[in-house]
C-alpha cells in the first residue's frame, strides 16, 4: 500500500483505489534512468560502489548527524545553547553557557502612585506601596554625608531564607499609645 502511494505520487496522478501494475514500476524506472542520463554526476551515487566498511561508516555518520542536528536544533530553539560569535559570522560551534542571568532581574518598579481620582485603588495595592518605597526622600544622591552619594551601605543579602512568611514575620506585643485622658473618658 505504501509503495502504491509512492508510485502514485511519482506519477502525479489523482489518488484512486487502483492496484499496482507493471506499468507503474516501468514508469518509475524510466524516470530514474532519465534523471541519471540527464545528470551523469549522480551515476556514482550508489552505496554499492563503496566497500562494506566505508558503507557502514557513512551510514553511521549519516544517522549520527541526523540525531545530533535534531537535538541541537531543539536546544537552539529553546534558547539553551547559542552560537559563538567571533570575527566571522558563525564559527561553527556551540557553547552551553546559560543565556538567562542569575539571579533573575528584579521586576520593573512602578513609578505611579494613586491620586484622589483613583478611588478604586484604595486601600493601596502592593505596586502602590512599592512605588512609595521608590519615591522615598532618601533616594537622592545630592544629600549630605551620611546619606546621598557618599553613603556607606550594608546589604544583608543573607536574610532572605525563601521560606514562609510565618518564619520571616513575628508578632510583637507593644503597649498601646498613650491616649489623652479626656478622649479616653469620652470613648469609654
Amino acid at each position: 500500500m505504501q509503495l502504491t502511494r509512492c508510485l502514485l505520487w511519482l506519477d502525479r496522478r489523482p489518488a484512486s483505489n487502483c492496484l499496482l501494475y507493471d506499468t507503474d514500476v516501468i514508469t518509475v524506472k524510466n524516470r530514474l534512468l532519465t534523471m541519471v542520463d540527464r545528470f551523469p554526476m549522480f551515476s556514482c551515487m550508489s552505496l554499492q560502489n563503496l566497500s562494506g566498511k566505508s558503507r557502514s561508516i557513512l551510514c553511521l555518520a549519516l544517522v549520527a548527524s541526523i540525531l545530533s542536528s535534531g537535538t541541537l536544533f531543539y536546544h537552539y530553539q529553546r534558547g539553551n545553547i547559542k552560537p559563538l560569535r567571533g570575527p566571522f559570522h558563525f564559527r561553527g560551534s556551540f557553547s552551553f553557557a546559560p543565556t538567562a542571568p542569575w539571579p533573575p532581574p528584579a521586576p520593573p518598579i512602578p513609578t505611579t502612585i494613586p491620586v484622589d481620582e483613583d478611588v478604586h485603588r484604595y486601600p493601596p495595592l502592593y505596586p502602590d506601596v512599592t512605588a512609595a518605597e521608590y519615591l522615598l526622600s532618601q533616594h537622592n544622591d545630592t544629600l549630605p554625608f551620611p546619606e546621598g552619594s557618599s553613603a556607606q551601605f550594608v546589604r544583608f543579602a543573607n536574610e532572605q531564607p525563601g521560606v514562609g512568611f510565618n518564619n520571616q514575620l513575628k508578632e510583637m506585643c507593644v503597649p498601646p499609645p498613650p491616649t489623652h485622658p479626656l478622649a479616653f473618658a469620652c470613648t469609654f
Binding site: 539571579p103 552619594s149 543579602a157 543573607n158 525563601g162 514575620l169 508578632e171 510583637m172 506585643c173
Partner: protein
C-alpha cells in the same frame, strides 16, 4: 479595665540587622518580604491539592514578593529616625543596586568572619552578635558598599526573638 496590647507583625531579622547597621554607622538596605526568590513573576502558583494549599479560600496564586513597608513603617523600612538619633535612613534594594554596581561591592562571608571573631551563632547571645557585628562594620569604614553574601549564615535567627512571640 484591661486595654489589650497591640499585636504588630515585625520582621525580626530586618529589625536587628538595621540595629547592626546603625551601630556600624552604615545605611541599612531593606528588602522585600520574599516568598519565592527564584522567580521573576509577580505571583507564585499554589499547589492544586487542597491539603497543600494553606491560603484562605484556597487561592490559586499568591504574591512572590511583598514590599516591606506594607508591613512595617519604621526606621528599618526607610522611615525617619526619632529626634536625637544621628543615623542615615534606610534605603531600598533598588537604590542600593543603582548606587552600588556589582564591581563596587565588598562581599562578606559571615561564616568566615564569625570564625575569625570566635562567635558561635549556635549559643551566642543576641546582644553579643549585634555588638560584635556592629564593631566589625565599623572597621570597614573605607568600603562604600558592604554586602553579606546570600546563602551565608544568617546572623539573626528566630531564636533571638523567641521571647517576643
Amino acid at each position: 479595665m484591661v486595654v489589650p496590647n497591640y499585636r504588630i507583625p515585625i520582621r525580626y531579622d530586618s529589625l536587628l540587622n538595621s540595629e547592626i547597621a546603625r551601630l556600624g554607622r552604615r545605611t541599612y538596605v531593606f528588602a522585600d518580604v520574599v516568598w519565592d526568590p527564584n522567580t521573576n513573576e509577580s505571583y507564585v502558583k499554589m499547589p492544586d491539592e487542597p491539603e497543600h494549599n494553606h491560603l484562605a479560600h484556597g487561592a490559586k496564586y499568591r504574591a512572590a514578593r511583598l514590599p516591606l513597608r506594607a508591613f512595617i513603617d519604621a526606621p528599618s523600612s526607610g522611615s525617619a529616625w526619632p529626634q536625637g538619633v544621628a543615623a542615615p535612613r534606610a534605603v531600598s534594594v533598588a537604590w542600593y543596586e543603582r548606587m552600588c554596581p556589582p564591581g563596587r561591592r565588598y562581599l562578606v562571608d559571615t561564616g568566615k568572619i564569625n570564625a575569625d571573631m570566635g562567635l558561635n551563632l549556635g549559643d551566642a547571645e543576641g546582644l553579643d552578635i549585634v555588638t560584635k557585628w556592629g564593631t566589625y562594620l565599623l572597621s570597614l569604614s573605607d568600603k562604600p558598599c558592604v554586602e553579606l553574601l546570600r546563602g551565608s549564615d544568617r546572623l539573626i535567627d528566630w531564636k533571638c526573638v523567641i521571647s517576643l512571640a
